[in-house]
């Protein structure tokens, strides 16, 4: 079966890991061990094989093993269909993270074209009830999985937005300067909005077509200013110009895709996701991750790598078995963590099982 999978993973002085080598095949990987043993650190290392700052959104300096603080390195051999890629990422002495693909310096955008990694971590349990920023970030990761250029567009947009906000804060009134910046914001803003809308369409289609044990979430892109501009960048540029005096009073940009939000509804009950039970909210997130995986497989022929941190703990045995069945049916190399082996019993030999323990302050990984 065609697959996207980590074939080997090497961690050096990364978080709790001193020097660790993990060899694996394309099957899912069940990681268990006591709290603090270093399970999530393995998932974080794999998340660095995709664009961005990883599952914890930490700085490169925070990832270094203490007390040595010598810098760290994560290297992996990644299989995409019939090709192997060697990916190395590292940071020395707290400097910015560097990246090499197949021995050559590379950019995050290049990484996005090779590796699609999706994740669900306990910090996302509050996604439906926290502020819009978390949901927007979740949507952008989903969008990035479909469109590797999305991240670059967001970076350009944010840079131009920071420039405009500084002008607003300094009460600059030079209309030419605003127009020049707003042109950039508008050009990237429409691409961002369009890519987000397309990503939601892909997710909805994947949910509708699937037979799944997890509830369907209907997602709608919302914006507090209720603005319509997706077709034309001139519309957004005009909107920004219209808002300029209001923005000057507020000292920041009030309208634009940087304020987009996602409104989720538990479809079967027609209840907003934020008002659903804790278990239902988690189930909706799992449903979305699986739908994202199915949509990617449909588009690229390859299921993504999934990182599911402590996901089994919140599910009863039947739901757990259903999740494992769906992951195996998808053919994704899902890296799942949990405290004990009993959480992964239903997987049997459909997965590889790793025991992570802490020995003398160092994480130790053993294939079971």
């Amino acid at each position: 079966m065609p697959n996207l999978a980590v074939e080997s993973l090497n961690l050096s002085h990364f978080r709790s890991h001193h020097v660790v080598q993990i060899e694996c095949d394309p099957r899912p990987v069940a990681i268990y061990g006591a709290n603090g043993a270093g399970k999530t650190n393995i998932l974080e290392a794999i998340s660095l094989l995709s664009p961005g700052r990883g599952v914890r959104r930490s700085s490169a300096e925070e990832m270094t093993r203490r007390p040595e603080a010598l810098g760290w390195k994560v290297s992996a051999v990644l299989r995409t269909q019939d090709r192997l890629h060697e990916i190395e990422t590292w940071s020395q002495n707290g400097t910015a993270r560097q990246l090499r693909i197949d021995g050559k310096a590379a950019t995050q955008v290049m990484l996005g074209r090779i590796a699609r990694v999706l994740w669900l971590i306990p910090a996302m349990d509050r996604l439906w009830i926290e502020g819009a920023e978390g949901r927007r970030r979740f949507l952008d990761r989903t969008t990035l999985s479909f469109d590797p250029n999305h991240g670059e567009q967001v970076l350009i947009y944010e840079k131009a937005m920071r420039e405009r906000n500084r002008l607003l804060k300094n009460q600059v009134t030079d209309a030419h300067w605003y127009r020049a910046i707003e042109g950039q914001i508008a050009a990237t803003g429409v691409k961002i909005r369009k890519a987000r809308e397309e990503a939601l369409e892909y997710i909805h289609a994947a949910q509708d077509q699937a037979e799944t044990a997890f509830p369907t979430a209907h997602l709608t892109l919302t914006n507090p200013e209720n603005i319509e501009f997706s077709a034309n960048s001139d519309d957004l540029a005009e909107l920004l110009a219209d808002y300029r005096s209001r923005d000057l009073a507020a000292g920041r940009t009030l309208a634009g895709p940087h304020r987009d939000d996602v409104f989720g509804v538990f479809a079967a009950k027609d209840v907003p996701a934020k008002d659903s039970s804790t278990g239902e909210q988690k189930a909706l997130l799992i449903s979305l991750i699986l739908a994202n995986g199915r949509a990617l497989k449909e588009q690229t022929g390859l299921p993504p790598i999934l990182l599911l941190d402590e996901v089994a703990a919140h599910l009863d045995a039947a739901r757990r078995a259903a999740l494992y069945d769906e992951i195996c049916a998808l053919g994704a190399q899902a890296w799942m963590s949990g405290t004990g082996p009993e959480l992964f019993e239903e997987l049997g030999d459909r997965a590889q099982h790793l025991l992570v323990t802490e020995v003398e302050g160092k994480s130790k990984v053993d294939l079971q």
Binding site: V109, A160, E163, R166, N170, D174, H176, A180, I181, Q184
Partner: protein
């Protein structure tokens, strides 16, 4: 550093601050100059001392030279109605190496950046607008870098130039370049700017 003379250490330290040089290459350069004292070190010191006094920015375009008006601005043959706007003097020198552009230049001295508190008045933008008005300019070529700040600055200038023709440099496949090595954005730009053979 463990050289015998404090002055030599100081010289190496200063040389190491130059772009492209590090402590190691600075040491090599200093040792080379010491060996070629009459041929290289003394003339270099003399010229450095002289240029340090005479070097100045051209009052018209921002190019550097040793007179108030640079050679290009003084040359009547370069007065063809075209002004090429660049960010830095190094960009001017790069353009001159091509021997292609026969007009005059305007060095902005950077790009607009609200975050770095660089506004139009910190650059030579007001001066450019005056030149366009006063020098019978027919075309302004915006040869700014293809960065976010460069493009913001280009749009800012274009927005204020009124009726004069404004152009930018083409973006696309470099001469001798292979498509396989280009990023998506460059290929897209090249395709959009394709021309009939």
């Amino acid at each position: 550093m463990s050289n015998s003379s404090k002055d030599l250490d100081h010289l190496i330290e200063l040389m190491a601050k130059l772009p492209g040089l590090g402590p190691r290459s600075a040491r090599r350069a200093v040792l080379h100059m010491v060996k070629k004292r009459a041929l290289l070190m003394t003339p270099l010191a003399d010229v450095l001392a002289e240029v340090a006094v005479t070097v100045r920015e051209c009052l018209n375009c921002g190019n550097i030279g040793t007179a108030d008006t640079c050679d290009i601005c003084q040359n009547p043959k370069r007065e063809n109605g075209e002004i090429c706007v660049i960010e830095e003097v190094s960009d001017l020198w790069a353009m001159e190496r091509s021997h292609m552009f026969k007009g005059r230049y305007h060095v902005l001295g950077g790009t607009l950046s609200a975050l770095d508190a660089i506004g139009p008045d910190e650059l030579r933008i007001p001066r450019l607008l005056r030149r366009v008005r006063d020098e019978n300019v027919t075309e302004v070529i915006l040869a700014l870098n293809a960065t976010i700040d460069g493009q913001t600055t280009a749009h800012y200038i274009a927005d204020q130039l009124g009726d004069v023709r404004v152009s930018t440099l083409a973006q696309g496949v470099p001469i001798g370049g292979e498509l396989d090595y280009l990023d998506d954005g460059t290929i897209t730009a090249a395709l959009r700017a394709r021309k009939t053979l």
